[in-house]
Amino acid sequence: MSTATNPLARLRAPRALAEVLGTPGRTAGFLVSSGVVAFFYTLLLPFGYTQRFELANWGYLDAYLLAWAVVLGLAMGLVLSVQAYAMRRVAAARAASGAAGGVAFVASLLPSFLCCTPVIPSLLAFVGVSGVGLYTTTGALQHFFAVHQSEFLAASLLLLASCAGGGCARWQARSASSTTAAQWGRRRMKCQAWSPPAAATSSPLGRERPGPARRGRPAAQPRPEGPGTDKEPFGEQGTDAPATAASDRRRPAPG
């Protein structure tokens, strides 16, 4: 995530999370998705004990695994909420959080699914490893997954947290830069109100506005506010900037 190294963007992440969970409906969605994911984790994490997905797995659910199920459920629920929010707002953030969330989910389950199952020895036998090599390799691989479960779970949690927090910070940063652009646009409009056209086109303010998204467009004009103006999926055509209320108000009217 490009914003992970940006301290200002990191500071904006909590505000973005508040926006993601800002309505009762979104909060409920987060809680429901977290609960569902945590429920499945309570069945999936003890898979190594029973080799089955069934409620009997709860018999092997100790406090350690239960805690991980809850934490991972909350983290995955947050990522899903961020993802759902991003689907409406920022296409790029959607793609980023979706991929990382999937990787984190797979990583969290690797120890449960690759330790004590016939998967690894069967794969090794399939690719032609045999004899002493099969024993050595199978033991080493399955032992690795068996003893490093905590590290895998921690890594997946870190990945979930980073893709949720990083995703929020990313579009929050873009939202802020979009707002700044809108503020510059307002200033430019004031200039245009009393300056000759030639002076306006050569104004340094014009060059400071974001290039690709504004290139070839007329100067910003006030846009009538109305229902639905802040519900468009993208803030700007051809960019993935969010459609903040500020940027929407300053966007030129269609046509």
Binding site: Q51, Y60, C115, P118, P121, A125, T138, H143
Partner: protein
């Protein structure tokens, strides 16, 4: 909701050719005679698989650092008496050197997980030679068991007793 992932070598599954066990990477199959070999009990006594004939026996190969083996041993502690009632004794042995990885000693593993059933006369713990490990567990599964009848024939093969105990008890009852 019950999706299983087993070794799946039950009696109804495809049976490898008889006599090809171990050496060619194929585990002994249902209907064949259990290959002979030696194992050492925790008491230090050396015994043979052939010497187990005369009484139905469950020969179970485990790896002590394997979570399904630990859970299976706990499950076995609950049902060893049921198996004994059907005339079946249990011989639980550690794969040679825990498949080359460090794990708890078999004695520690057994005492901790079998509990009071550790001292049951129908449950023997031990360690096996490299040859016997390769013969019965050629694919290096962490956990695999064979139910052998009184004549030394294999009647049922599977793994993870924690999840396959009902099938195992059914197979044992069929021997009675």
């Amino acid at each position: 909701m019950a999706v299983a992932l087993h070794v799946a070598n039950s009696g109804s599954g495809p049976a490898p050719a008889s006599g090809s066990a171990g050496a060619s990477g194929v585990p002994p199959s249902v209907g064949t005679t259990a290959p002979n070999g030696t194992f050492t009990t925790l008491a230090g006594k050396t015994e043979t698989v052939a010497g187990l004939r005369g009484k139905p026996t469950l020969i179970w190969f485990v790896t002590t650092w394997c979570s399904s083996c630990q859970a299976g041993t706990q499950a076995m502690a609950q049902d060893v008496a049921t198996l004994a009632a059907d005339g079946v004794r249990v011989v639980e042995v550690e794969n040679y050197a825990d498949l080359g990885q460090s794990g708890p000693a078999m004695s520690t593993f057994a005492k901790a997980l079998a509990g009071s059933a550790f001292s049951s006369p129908d449950w023997t713990f031990g360690e096996v030679s490299p040859a016997l490990t390769r013969t019965y567990d050629p694919k290096a599964y962490l956990d695999i068991y064979y139910l052998v009848n009184a004549k030394g024939k294999i009647t049922y093969v599977n793994s993870s007793p924690a999840s396959t105990m009902p099938q195992l008890l059914g197979a044992a009852k069929a021997l009675a």
